[in-house]
Symmetry: C2
Subunit: 230 residues, 2 copies
Amino acid sequence: MLAYAQHVSEERYTARFAPAAKADGQPERGFESSLELMGIKLPVARNEEIYGQDEPADYVYKVLKGSVRTHKLLDDGRRQVGAFYLPGDIFGLEAGLNHRFSAEAISDTVVLAIKRSTLTALAQTDAVVARELWLMTARELDHVQDQMILLGRSSAKERVASFLIEMADRSKDRTEFDLPMSRQDIADYLGLTIETVSRTFSSMERKAQIELLTSRKVRLRNRAALRCPH
Amino acid sequence: MLAYAQHVSEERYTARFAPAAKADGQPERGFESSLELMGIKLPVARNEEIYGQDEPADYVYKVLKGSVRTHKLLDDGRRQVGAFYLPGDIFGLEAGLNHRFSAEAISDTVVLAIKRSTLTALAQTDAVVARELWLMTARELDHVQDQMILLGRSSAKERVASFLIEMADRSKDRTEFDLPMSRQDIADYLGLTIETVSRTFSSMERKAQIELLTSRKVRLRNRAALRCPH
DNA sequence: CGTCATTTTGAAGACTGTCAACGCGCGTGG
DNA sequence: CCACGCGCGTTGACAGTCTTCAAAATGACG
């Protein structure tokens, strides 16, 4: 990964981080937008690893195209997917030294890799950057805490419904959208088996709560009914 | 809560934050120790609320004595306990404006309440403080991510075992320790029912993996066997 | 058109939840 | 001093959900 990053380093942008700099009359850029000026574009093939669990967290990534999953593997092969990242999302930011999850491309993907040292160096002198890094970790925490409730206290139907609504709300259309990930990925994200996920999809379709245009393309037909536990 | 905090404000310490100040020859104090110089001591009775879900997060807390649980309530009464905090632990730190969980004293407790604005103001000029705040949130994130795996991919036995080992490792003795929380609290922490928690305790005791001195006092007899799934 | 990965469906069984009753410890009050 | 009530914990029987194991269907791709 890193070797490759250096290989394509001719793509490196040279602009410096400048949140309030808008001398060119462009609309002011937020922190996340200005990240794009510090990174290296990196194509990643489907199922290729971007970083591994417990590896040094030297880079932070932003999805430009495609999609990414993070996961942890247990000794006996059980897998927990931590999150899915879609274009625009940032992942791989750690306050500590190492990554706690692995990250892989779900489909053919392009990510922007930003040196973490660049960010932490900026944070040394710029309190706005420091706060922004903190906020990113806090947002991740919020999401994981919601996921915790889902895993601890919800039925299969509720988990799948929550997942579909989350994906819908992250899509353009908010009603009809593609699922880049497999049923196995969804199962490992929701703490279910692939069979239960599939059966739940089928049951929702029979009840006209969703429509499966293809197995990877969903349309929500009744959000309210999706929310109800059965 | 806040009214009471003001009521006891005569207990306020006046020392300023000074991580590297050790003019008195004392060993250097870490960030968390110096927090104690900025807070107000606050006694909280058993089951009393310290803050509520979605309330403004104006204070950060440190447990001085007793124990605290955080939790979220779902509309239908289901409850997810987020974490337990023991003496020395810090809780209630948010990057955003509001608390995402409620916090209550499990037993009669004394906490130290520190104004969040004090910390964020310090972080404006001191990158060390800013980094420390970020690290605290990151540690919380690590714990919740582990909890997520537990809730998503583990059996009742594994959840209870993991909980007991966590509690043991946080205790002085690391073998024999008190459980300040009820079976219901444990169940809501592990995503189980109170009956399943109780049965699992009993089963572990029959297998001589633990010993229940009282229902709230546990001794680990075989850590290795606890780790195994059945 | 055949192959392979992925998804769906079916049947049986395990685990945990639900409902109910009982036991235990402790404080209060007779 | 003992009886009672109450909160909390334990145990039992049964039901339901989800998993497991197995096989068929679907779809992408050469």
